[in-house]
Every structure is written in structure tokens, then in C-alpha cells.
């Protein structure tokens, strides 16, 4: 069903598309998430196919000037146990290089462990705690690695505190990124991932899981023992995108090159929407959360030295 042309670039767009697939222009019509008809009533039901539109955490989109995220329940789970948070933190006083300063983007993605109790509470608690801790630490001048370590510690404590006597402890994974200056710092526990997409696209994280399975070897939760995050700082040598995602995306599309082809050259929000849609079209078996943080030419312009690609 073709509804017409994108007013910005003229590409044909489909009924219900919120953004032009070609240029990412916001089309201004929120179509039905099930059938695409631009006929969603005020009560949330599609007037064409009847489907209730996602609300609450079923489908969440966050858009900041510096980054965007989309989280979706997927097609097979009855609720969204993933959570995400995004914020812009103040100036970073000291980076590894000790020179660049400016606004940094902070993103956190946590994936509730389905076999635990109240996993959606664990993931939400973890992202809320972590993003607040990161913003505070960075604002107070901590370096990104220290801030990340502190954020994971506090998030782990908060999730630990959710456990009640006599039940399986709520649990979740963790991945965060601090993107700013000339560097990217990621931290993770579990199998949610961070990717660098751009020149030399690669996976920045290494899953805490038994290879070839989804058996986690590390997580946040009262039954997790001591939580020791992996932390890695990375200096890109050109513009690109830092992608954080839950396994609802990378189960279908693990290859950095594939993700890069979809995510680059689009607005962060359009990129996140496209990636979530790809995972839905591939089956949507799990909750899907995608956070896209551009590492822009602006940051690059400030860089006077080309750093080695990896510093750790």
C-alpha cells in the first residue's frame, strides 16, 4: 500500500510509515503498528484492523538531540522486559587524553531475565539507577570509566534490593555507553551488546554467556554474586554510531556490517526504528531494544590527534 511521496525527498512511502525510509524525514502520521493504516482512534484501537496500539513499555521511543532509542515488546512475549535510558551529561572534565571537553551522550540498556521474577522491574530499576549515576558522576568530573563502574555498582545494588525472601531474585543484563569527546566508553554485564558502526564496524562487548547458548554467566541480581563489569574505552578514527541493543536484535542480526548498513546515514531515531522493525520482521521472538548514539563529525573536528583505534 503506497500512500504517497515523502515531502522531503520524493521517495514513495508506505501507509503508516512514521519516517521516510530513504531520508528519515518525519512524515507526521503515526500509523497502526499492526496494519499500517493511518487510522488509529483516540482510544488507541486501529480503526481498520482493530489492533490496540502499544502503550506504556510495549513500544517506547526516546529521542534526544544527541541520541535516540526504541524498545519494543516484540511479537511473542506478552510484555516488554527490556528497559532503556538516555541522557545528555554535562561537560567531561577529563578524558583519557585529558584535553577534549563537551557534552556527552549517555545510554543504558538492560534486558530482564525472563526466568527470574519481575524481570521488567529489574531492568527498569537498573537503567534508572545507572543513568542517574552516570550523569551525576560525569557532571562531578569523574572520568567515563570510573563513572561507569560506579553506575554498575549502584544498579547492581538496586536490583539486589528488589529480591524478596523466598522467591527467585529479579535479574537483568546491563550495557551502557558514554559517548563524547573523542572517546566511547562501554560497560556491560551479561549478553546485551554495544557495537561501533562506522569505519571498521565491530562488536565492542563480549557476551557473558556460554558460547552458542543464552545461558548467562553474569547478570545483575541478588543471586548473581559479586558483579564485576567489563569496561572498555574506544577511540573511533572517524564519524559513526554507537549502538546498544538487547539480544532481541542481535539474535537476528549479529554482524556489525549488516547493522551498519541499516543504521548509518539516518537520524538516530529512524535508525533505531529500522533496526527494531528488522527484528520484528525477522520474527520478533524476544523483546527488542535499540539505542543509537551518533559519534559525530563535530566531535571529530575537535580532535587534533588521531588516536589508536583501541586503548585497552
Amino acid at each position: 500500500m503506497v500512500s504517497g511521496a515523502c515531502p522531503a525527498c520524493g521517495t514513495l512511502v508506505l501507509v503508516g510509515e512514521a519516517f521516510c525510509e530513504q531520508c528519515g524525514h518525519a512524515l507526521g502520521v503515526a500509523g497502526c503498528t499492526a496494519c499500517g493504516a493511518p487510522a488509529v482512534g483516540a482510544d488507541g484501537y486501529c480503526e481498520n484492523c482493530g489492533m490496540l496500539q502499544p502503550s506504556g513499555r510495549d513500544h517506547v521511543e526516546i529521542e534526544l538531540e544527541i541520541a535516540a532509542g526504541v524498545s519494543d515488546r516484540g511479537l511473542r512475549h506478552s510484555r516488554n522486559e527490556d528497559a532503556m535510558a538516555l541522557t545528555a551529561a554535562g561537560t567531561v572534565a577529563g578524558t583519557a587524553a585529558g584535553t577534549a571537553a563537551g557534552t556527552v551522550a549517555v545510554g543504558v540498556v538492560c534486558d530482564g531475565v525472563s526466568t527470574s521474577l519481575r524481570p521488567e522491574e529489574a531492568s527498569q530499576t537498573a537503567v534508572d539507577t545507572a543513568v542517574a549515576a552516570l550523569a551525576k558522576q560525569l557532571g562531578e568530573g569523574a572520568d567515563p570509566e570510573t563513572a561507569t563502574r560506579e553506575a554498575v555498582r549502584l544498579a547492581a545494588e538496586a536490583v539486589f534490593a528488589l529480591a524478596e525472601q523466598g522467591e527467585d531474585a529479579p535479574a537483568c543484563t546491563y550495557v551502557s555507553a558514554v559517548v563524547g569527546g573523542r572517546q566511547v566508553t562501554v560497560g556491560w554485564v551479561g549478553d546485551s551488546r554495544a557495537y561501533w558502526l562506522g569505519s571498521g564496524s565491530e562488536v565492542l562487548t563480549g557476551d557473558d554467556a556460554t558460547p552458542g547458548t543464552h545461558m548467562l554467566t553474569a547478570w545483575l541480581g541478588a543471586d548473581a554474586g559479586e558483579v564485576v563489569p567489563h569496561i572498555r574505552t574506544f577511540t573511533p578514527d572517524g564519524p559513526g554510531v554507537v549502538l546498544l541493543c538487547s539480544d532481541g536484535l542481535w539474535n537476528y542480526y549479529p554482524e556489525p556490517a549488516t547493522l551498519a548498513a541499516v543504521a548509518l546515514n539516518a537520524t538516530p531515531r529512524a535508525a533505531a526504528q529500522r533496526l527494531v522493525r528488522l527484528a520484528l520482521e525477522a520474527g520478533g521472538h524476544d523483546n527488542i531494544t535499540v539505542v543509537v548514539i551518533p559519534f559525530g563529525p563535530g566531535d571529530q573536528a575537535e580532535a587534533t590527534v588521531v588516536f589508536p583505534k583501541e586503548q585497552q
Partner: protein
């Protein structure tokens, strides 16, 4: 002003892969405490004056018609039609409805006294005459309540089936007609067809002397109507299949075939005029199966005045897919109750048909099963009538058809098979 409320009873949870949605929609109209003198209304009394009505029947019919005339509120436009193989307006003396006044009521009573029984029976022609009178009235009073009473004692013998069908089709939507059969020589199926098409009721009047009270009650009920030509407007999703729309209370009435398209996804089903009353509808929609956790609106039900589009009440029929079998296998008690009521009516009608066809095994099986359902569901009147046709051994449960059955009992059982009872107790309340 009459206030309408709508409530939907259903179990919205479906197992994965399923799309069968059942809902009971209850519409309640709370009428004004005092009669609504503002509602424009018209009433036509149609009395069978065929030869078979001679003696006591025509005498009682005259009394009944007079009782109806007396019950008319001042200002209600009315007429009296005498029917045999043709239709004659016996009051007023011209082809028009006249307002009820002390003088016009007296004149009408006088005219009714002169009714004589003679000739054949052609009900379609009587109804057509009434429809023309209502149509002229409708020009001047759009939105008025239009109601007719039809009384007969016999078969529709002097009108060929195609003519009758054409006449009935001509009348459809023009007025509401309640039908009364007196004695044992009328055919339940004929009056049921008229009443169904014209959104009215059928009742059997066993003794002619009961007519007067019944006519008075019927006219009173008609005078209590405050909103005419109400429709049930049903939206269903594009990919859905609407299996049926049935009124299930106070009587069973299949409305599925009565749909008027509003748009590609929406249709109107006529419900006639409303006073202070409550009716229930059973709607069955098949929707494409969704994913676990998804929720769909499987139907949007609105009560509307189609002329103006005014929405009087509305409700949602939902579907939500669940992987919890405890949720998805539960049957809503109200859906179960009315499914049982529909089965009961079918068993009675099929059983009586089989009995008349001489298929006694089928008749015994159907009516015996009906007796069991009637007792369980609380259809006391139906159970009593069934007992006059079938005998069930209380110890063994074995059913046996009675040899001598009063024809009047059989007619009563058939006529009243479409009357349902409400749930004895509401577990949700």
C-alpha cells in the same frame, strides 16, 4: 429523555491461534418515570374479520380493539383496519391517521362495534394498508413511534406466498408490529415471520376473553416507547468475519441478515422503538489470530439513531491473546447462558416439527433434552409447557411423548420457545 447504557460481557482472552469471539451486549434504556407526552406516536389496530372469526371471537376482538383505543394517549394518531381477503379502514372514514381525542375515540369505538366476520385471510394486504397509512403520517412526523397490533385466528390462506413476501418486504422498516394469534387454527411460523420482520412480538391468546387485557397491555407498552427507529451499529475489523448478531433477550431474534451497510466495516441492525427496557444481544465475530499479548478491538457496538447519527450508547468487544490456558478457556457465564437459551429454542422447534412429521424418536430426543435445559437454566414457564407435551421419568430420566396433547399447549410451547429468561444469578454482580 431516555438514557441508554451498554455493557459487554465476554471472556476477551483467546488462546494463540484462535480468533473466535463471543460477547453478550446488554442495552438498558431507562425511560422517564412519567410517560413522555412529547413523543409523537401512531398506532394502527388490525383486526382479523375473516369468516372464521364469527361468534365469540369477533365479539371479543371488538372488545379488545375498544380496550386498545381507550388506552391511546390523547394526540396519538391512530386508525383501525379490518382484514379479511382484503383490508378495509374502518376508522377513520378516510385513508389517514387521526389524533386521539375523546370524540375520535368514541367514533372509533362505534366503528369497531360494527365489525362483522366474513371472507378470507390475506395478512400481507392488511399490513400493506397499514404501511401506507404510516408512510403518509411519517411525512409530517419524522422520528415518531409507529406501532401496529395485528390480531388473527387463522392461516394466511388467500394470498399467494410471493405476494405475501412482497407485501411484507414493502412494510419492512416502516413500523413495528406485535402479532397475536387467538384460538388454535393460526400458524405460529406465519406470525413469527411477520413479527420478526417488523421487529415485534408474537403471543398466543388461548381464550378470546383474554384478548381485551392483552390489547390494553400491548397498547400501554407501545405508549411507553420514547425513541423510534433505533439501530445497533456494529463495526468489525477489516479482516474479520461477522458470524452472527442475535437478540437473545427478551426474545430470540436473529438479526444477522438484517444488516444495512454503513461503510465497508460497519453495518446497522434495526431494533425498532425503545421505552424503559433492557435487551441483550449475542455477537459472534471471527478475527484473524493475533500474537500472545496483543489486544484487538473485535467489535465496536453503538446504539444509534441512523437518521441523525446520534450515538446513544457504545461498547467494545475485545480479543486478547494469552498463553495462559486458565484465562483463555474460561467461558463467560452470560455467553454460556444465552448459548443454552438458543439451544433450548432450537430443540423445542425441531422437536415439535419432528413430532408433526411423525418422527417420534427425534421428537422425543429433542424435547427430552429441552426439558433438561429448561429446568437447569430456570425456564420455568417453558418447563411447564414441555411437561404438557413430554413426560420425563424423574428417576430414570427417560422421556416419553404424551399421547394426547392440547393443540393450544403445543402452540403456546412453539410461540414461547423464543422467549428467554435472564440469568438466575449474575456471578459478576
Amino acid at each position: 429523555m431516555t438514557d441508554f447504557t451498554m455493557r459487554v460481557d465476554q471472556n476477551k482472552y483467546l488462546p494463540a491461534g484462535s480468533g473466535e469471539v463471543h460477547a453478550i451486549v446488554t442495552v438498558e434504556a431507562s425511560g422517564p418515570i412519567e410517560r413522555a407526552p412529547t413523543a409523537e406516536a401512531a398506532e394502527i389496530i388490525i383486526v382479523d374479520t375473516s369468516g372464521s372469526m364469527s361468534y365469540d371471537k369477533i365479539a371479543e376482538a371488538r372488545k379488545a380493539a375498544r380496550a386498545a383505543i381507550d388506552t391511546l394517549r390523547d394526540g396519538v394518531h391512530f386508525a383501525v383496519v379490518a382484514g379479511n381477503h382484503e383490508a378495509q379502514i374502518v376508522f377513520p372514514d378516510r385513508a389517514a391517521l387521526v389524533p386521539a381525542t375523546p370524540e375520535s375515540r368514541n367514533a372509533a369505538r362505534e366503528a369497531v362495534t360494527r365489525l362483522v366476520a366474513d371472507g378470507g385471510t390475506a395478512m400481507g394486504r392488511w399490513l400493506r394498508r397499514a404501511a401506507d397509512l404510516f408512510s403518509d403520517f411519517q411525512q409530517a412526523y419524522p422520528g415518531a413511534i409507529k406501532h401496529a397490533i395485528l390480531l388473527t385466528d387463522g392461516k394466511n390462506e388467500h394470498e399467494k406466498a410471493p405476494e405475501f413476501a412482497a407485501n411484507l418486504a414493502y412494510c419492512t422498516g416502516k413500523f413495528v408490529c406485535d402479532c397475536r394469534g387467538v384460538g388454535v387454527d393460526w400458524v405460529v411460523a406465519e406470525l413469527r415471520e411477520i413479527a420478526s420482520t417488523l421487529l415485534g412480538s408474537v403471543m398466543d391468546i388461548r381464550r378470546p376473553e383474554d384478548l381485551e387485557a392483552d390489547f390494553r397491555a400491548m397498547t400501554q407498552a407501545a405508549m411507553g416507547k420514547t425513541v423510534a427507529d433505533v439501530a445497533l451499529r456494529l463495526w468489525t475489523p477489516r479482516a474479520a468475519k461477522l458470524n452472527f448478531v442475535k437478540q437473545v433477550s427478551p426474545t430470540l431474534e436473529d438479526l444477522t441478515g438484517r444488516r444495512t451497510e454503513v461503510d465497508a466495516l460497519t453495518g446497522d441492525y434495526p431494533t425498532g422503538a425503545w421505552g424503559g427496557e433492557s435487551r441483550e444481544y449475542h455477537i459472534n465475530v471471527r478475527v484473524p489470530a493475533g500474537n500472545v499479548g496483543q489486544e484487538m478491538r473485535a467489535g465496536l457496538v453503538r446504539l444509534v439513531l441512523p437518521g441523525t447519527g446520534e450515538v446513544l450508547a457504545k461498547g467494545n468487544i475485545l480479543a486478547q491473546w494469552s498463553d495462559d490456558p486458565v484465562q483463555s478457556t474460561r467461558i463467560n457465564p452470560r455467553v454460556a447462558h444465552y448459548t443454552g437459551q438458543q439451544e433450548l429454542a432450537s430443540l423445542i422447534q425441531e422437536g415439535l416439527q419432528a413430532r408433526n412429521d411423525g418422527d417420534l424418536d427425534t421428537a422425543t430426543a429433542r424435547l427430552g433434552k429441552a426439558r433438561g435445559i429448561a429446568e437447569k437454566a430456570g425456564n420455568e414457564e417453558t418447563a411447564k409447557l414441555l411437561d404438557k407435551v413430554i413426560e420425563v421419568d424423574p428417576d430414570t430420566g427417560t422421556a416419553r411423548l404424551r399421547r394426547d396433547v392440547d393443540k393450544a399447549d403445543e402452540i403456546a410451547l412453539d410461540t414461547r420457545s423464543v422467549r428467554t429468561v435472564r440469568m438466575r444469578k449474575d456471578p459478576e454482580a
